[in-house]
Amino acid sequence: MIRVSVDSAPIELAVEVAALDEPGAGGVATFTGLVRADDGVTGLELEHYPGMTEQALIALAETATERWSLLGVTMVHRVGAMEPGDRIVFIGTVAQHRREALDACAWLIDRLKTDAPFWKRETRGETASWVEARASDAAAAARWDAPRG
């Protein structure tokens, strides 16, 4: 089952994790991204492209489901105003075996970073600035396309 959500409400981990129960599952992997308080960040605002965002997340979930034979995928992304410590994103994958669940989860968060239309603006006290995309994120997403060792 694929479940995708883009919402300004806080991400409820217990709810998301419970929704990952799938018959036949052997392994469940999750990743949760949080707003870090370092660098003096006092707030974060997430903008997105309504319609395209959901499509992009569903496309990623479908590709992962096929590549790793997943039994279930959840992708939840928060948008709007957040504070340090808040959850920005939750990815959950369910598979028969651990390797598929773990690899798919890592792939999904890497690809979400480069393939889904979200933009972060950080606030530091009175100053707000748009976060610059990082070359390391593009590299992390690209390494999945390289031949496997």
Binding site: Y49, L112, A116, W119, E132
Partner: protein, 83 residues
């Protein structure tokens, strides 16, 4: 053609959405960016560095040299930074 702007592109232009009717010579996303830069000081500022822009046509990412074709919705924005 409906245009959507996000993040600092939206802020510089001063709106997130507008309808435009570019001339026939505007065939690619890059052409559109060059043409938009002539519309207002805000547009000019937003389109000043095309290499910092990314685009989507009808909600699919495309390279800047992509033809506009029969695009209904074109979005311009900085590289994405979600997750």
């Amino acid at each position: 053609m409906e245009l959507l702007y996000f993040a600092w592109v939206r802020e510089r232009i001063g709106t997130g959405q507008e309808q435009v009717d570019p001339p026939e010579t505007v065939r690619s996303v890059a052409d559109l960016i060059a043409w938009l830069a002539t519309l207002s000081p805000g547009h000019a500022e937003a389109m000043r560095e095309p290499e910092r822009l990314r685009a989507a046509i009808d909600q699919k990412f495309v390279p800047l040299d992509a033809p506009l074709g029969a695009a209904r919705e074109v979005a311009l924005f900085p590289p994405v930074t979600g997750g």
